[in-house]
Symmetry: D2
């Protein structure tokens, strides 16, 4: 059987969604057109474990058009779009994914992909990679190389490498500038606000928004909240970033103080318990809490659950917690990553670049014999993607003259 | 019968929504608390013809708590929330409104309100006012005064007045600074972007957004689009506003030129055919069109319908039009006011001030014997509302010292 | 003698400065070219009492090229540029002005201009107008009309009018949108910061800047301070403006609180004692104070002088005051209008529009028989100037179609 | 003789200037207070070759108060302030520097400092370092370590190291985040605009400003030009940076296109001939050119000189060039670094952090036996400086809890 999906009848619906996303993925489109005749992946199998979304579908069919045979399973059973899976199945992709599949199916689907005996792997969290290394060492030996999308996955793969267990070279796609510079700042920035607005319909202008964390994501969220007229307070633990926030015109203070005056709180630190229950006790009645960090550990939700007097669902993805003193606070999307929980994740436009990195990095692995290890995306790929994105916008930039090249080297 | 609604069983759901909106309506809350004991409207009947929304519900119960007996009908059959109507009915309000009611029911419901023999009227578009004057002249004589929310309604009432037919004084609430300054700029600004993002999920950063019109609404939309990282082009017909747009850092050009380079087009002029079909022919493939003006006449949609080769619904409130040359453009919400069609209209926070104007203007009409005519909201009401809004945010401002008062007067 | 100036030898230096300013005055240049052949002012005399600056020089020679014979005196003895006066004298203008001239000379020079028996007057503060009415009633009778640049002057002229003493019609140029909208926001905004930076060389990024007043000037200063990375606090007495400041993303609080946390204070209210000595006592050591309002009454400088323990000039236009408790604060430009005291006043680009208003309003007075009274600049002049400014930038805008004109009128 | 300066009588004037700068250098002040009792540099000699400015004076006296004996010479004869030198001499510093000193004196003064037999060196461009290594190898052997402020200097020192000639370890201060992150973006950003405004007095609002280069400096300049209301165009050769500029809302295009539409051009690339003469030929009459890169090679000034028909000095630091076709362009500060040529260089506030890096890095070299080589500033110094800066602003930030520290390590 070529696929394991919910309902092939959803393919039409899926096609429409995939097509819409594709309009915002011009870099993939350029790559597709560039490689559809030469078919550099001809005769190669790719096992991909990714969120089964509209953008992924476009990556997968780009690989297909460039000659590859692709096997796709889900990197998270909750993020699968059954319509997209149906569309891909109809397109002849070997897709094994159903929204809400149980743990057994999840791992079985990963194994199905592995058993295709892939030449290349693409992973998002390293579940496929780890399974391949543990359960199918013989097949792992055969693999030319792999790409990993997330920081978490890279950590796991580096651990394998440290123990000398890694069997083929990896490229850590997350490190590409055209990935994290852009999806963190511009993608997370916009979609975090989008999630909160969809969940609450509140006006940002004049509100005091507390952004915990001033990394790339925090910079994006702060910039966009300011752009919507909010008065932004940043909290940080790293002094250089905190100072940057001040110089960018934001107020900076400890969460303990910010808790007392904020209207909306957004965590985006990558750390745990950034908003603790004792902070919540200091908040104004009606405060709104949202998390835009990867894991739902940044707000002390478990303690909110323990200590609450009552809880109601007020709107889609918005819960009201009442505590002993009568105070109510509102939690968006249960404290999970707000742009996925309450909006539609990153706009396709930023996924375009992430996935162009996947595509070109896979090609690089295929064409270059490199040693086992974990590597960054080569800078020339990063630059090529940025160049294609600019070109797709109908814009162009300067190039160095010979004289300038010489000047830059002349110390 | 005290009400004419869809289903009283929806009252619980309505209560929750009304309550959520109320959290963003602190000025109404202050007024409610201030007047619930003195009950200045005691023994008075108010006939209100308004959009039956969560915010309206809060206005109505505030009047009720201040002593009034309120009769409510819908100012537009499509904007009625049946849950809200149910909630109000359960609260003892005389409410006559059903979503999607036919024309006969619509006018019957207006008549039901009129037949309550009101002391005061509140209108949104002047349908109640005109009916009252035409069909119930005797009852009109009895009315102390009326408030009208919209510019359109004010025009109709002024026409009555010109013909010497007006029978009681009116306050034009739309002219209040705490209404149009704030809902136009901050309300329309945010909710227009919200509507487009919900309909399309596109990234604004780096996009070229063309905003047609640089009035208060256009200023708001431009400011927020810039705040989301877009490169904004403004088109205008009025040179002073156009120059203001330039000085605010925006590019300004005729629509004919902007048509060729824009990615997203937003009309907000109050005029018709601002984006004509011949502009659309010049646009890039994939251009997105949305209207944020009151009426759906700003984009030449009828001609798009005539000239299209095909049309598909791509997403909720997003239609793809294909034309002869194969070009596709995308229209949000059928060209209707985008923040209502594709999002949730103005955030409650701005309606708070509009409705506080309704409340205090009604009180003013009750307490002051004024002659027949159409009046602006008294400046002291405007200032009082701004003061209460600031107070509700936990902030305060300076007051003039005696010395300063004297200085200001001393020419 | 045709002129009364310091030194005709300064004419070359003056010419260069006037020419530089002229590069930023393209609207005047268009008007000059338009009217130099038709010479609508031929045979007419104009008496002008203005700041004798480079921009004024360009206005005067434009009048000259349009046929007028111009008599110029200073509206303030301290703002005269002797180089500019020399340049004008050499150009054949009847100019009577010397920097630092004493009171007698000042009034004598005004009288010299009046004695030319002018057809039109141009005034900046109404000293010429008042003298003309009081001392030369017979000559006043002969005047066709006058323009007044300032609000203060308009007040004085309106007082004359109220007492039925006014002898010819006036246009209040300050009310033109192309004047106050632009010089207040964009001119004052930039030049206020420029003055403070020249006087102190401090970095604005991260500083807490307190802007007192959120009128057009205050909006401009706040916007530019934010644009330089400052964290801006606004103080206001008018609640609607204060709320606007909040919605624009600024913190708002009473001066009493702001005093404790600000780094830089800028008054721009038009009122007196906005920063009182008791506020200064609460400030942080090292606070910097500047006034950008018209008169030097906004900061309680006289009390600072009284209460100081010592005072030193630290830099050009920067004084250090030390008080009893050892605290030091720094006052820019002695509390006088900071963009004139410590920088170069409004950039020529904004004066271009103010003076185009003077020119076209004078022409309007000449061509239209209007009754005695004080009038705003006709809206068509305002629009014409904005249109010319846009044209001079190489830009253009839309015009209403017939269909749109009709739609706008169709209620 | 303890000093070689212009005139000790200038010391009072110098003191006042140094004191003013010190108000903006609170980190140095904290360090001074912290180390003035323990005197960690007691018995040590420091030879410093730096721009002899007010900020440098504060660094030097901080070293002095921490126990060091300091010998100071100029790193550039044109940047010496004779008043500052006089002040330092009076304070007992061994200072050898005169504004405009000839080449022989320049090198003699460097040798005087070297002959003090220093334990530590501080350099800005590496002239002292290279002289020490070439002419005084025996004394070089004795040195514990050195700090170098500039990228250029670091290149020269690394060259020495490559040839195995380096005799003691170096810390490259420029790489500190608290240096280049802040002086590049916030310092260069503000002071570049300041320089252009002082030289031209033009209004930025509405102007088209072309910024060549979107590195840290270019980001700062673009951000501030936008903050003043300009419409900013960025040119770049590096695609990732160019894309960042687009996503930040700026227009991006090749210089060849930008040349035709810009009003003001600012180069800040670090490369040569970024604005070539053939670009200038395409510019609008009246274009203004300024360079904010380190060297005056970014604008092709030599060709402007060759091809000009005439040249005039229009204002202080502003030259008008006329070319064959009659077109005029204006060059600020002869194409030299505009914030130094036409304004006062970086505000003291950013130099505070650069020099705190010098101080703490010197202390680090003294206290830690490190091998010969060129090292970055230790991250803990960077963080300490940021922390002190924040503290000096009266602000504070969060610290990681134990639980959070554990979470960050737990993969």
């Amino acid at each position: 059987m070529n696929y394991q999906i919910k309902d092939i009848g959803l393919a039409d619906e899926g096609a429409k969604k995939v097509e819409w996303a594709y309009r915002e993925m011009p870099v993939l489109d350029i790559l597709r057109k560039k490689y559809k005749n030469s078919k550099p992946f001809a005769g190669k199998k790719i096992a991909a474990c990714l969120h089964v979304t509209t953008e992924t579908a476009n990556l997968i069919t780009t690989f297909r058009d460039a000659g590859a045979q692709v096997y796709l399973c889900a990197s998270n059973p909750l993020s699968t779009s059954d319509e997209v899976a149906a569309y891909l199945a109809r397109e002849g992709i070997f897709v094994f994914a159903q929204r809400g599949e149980d743990s057994k199916s999840y791992w079985d689907n990963i194994r199905r992909c592995i058993e295709s005996e892939p030449d290349l792997t693409i992973d998002d969290g390293a579940d496929l990679t780890v399974t391949l290394h543990k359960e199918y060492p013989r097949l792992a030996d055969k693999v030319v190389g792999g790409c990993e999308e997330t920081t978490t996955g890279v950590h796991r793969i580096e651990a394998l490498n440290k123990e000398k267990l890694l069997k083929f070279p990896f490229i850590a796609v997350n490190n590409a500038m055209t990935k994290h510079f852009f999806d963190n700042r511009y993608g997370t920035g916009q979609s975090t606000l989008d999630g909160i607005i969809r969940a609450t319909n509140i006006l940002f202008a004049g509100k005091r928004v507390v952004v915990a964390g001033y990394g790339w994501c925090g910079k994006g969220v702060s910039m966009r909240a300011k752009g919507m007229g909010a008065r932004v307070i940043v909290t940080e633990v790293e002094p250089v970033r905190a100072l940057e926030a001040i110089m960018d015109g934001f107020d900076v203070m400890p969460m303990d103080e910010a808790a007392k005056i904020g209207d909306i709180f957004i965590t985006v630190t990558g750390n745990c318990n950034v908003i603790r229950f004792d902070h919540i006790l200091k908040m104004k009645d009606g405060a709104i809490l949202a998390n835009s960090g990867h894991f739902n550990v940044e707000i002390e939700v478990n303690k909110m659950e323990e200590q609450k007097v009552s809880k109601r669902r007020i709107r889609h993805e918005l819960d009201e917690y009442t505590f002993k003193d009568g105070k109510k606070v509102f939690l968006v999307g249960e404290g999970r990553l707000v742009n996925l929980a309450a909006a539609e994740g990153h706009p396709s436009s930023v996924m375009d670049m992430s996935f162009a990195n996947q595509f070109l990095s896979s090609l690089y692995l295929l064409n270059n014999k490199i040693e086992i290890g974990v590597y960054p995306v080569p800078i020339e790929i990063d630059r090529e993607i940025a160049r294609l994105k600019i070109e797709s916008m109908g814009m162009s930039i300067d190039t160095l003259s010979e004289e300038q090249e010489k000047y830059m080297k002349s110390w």
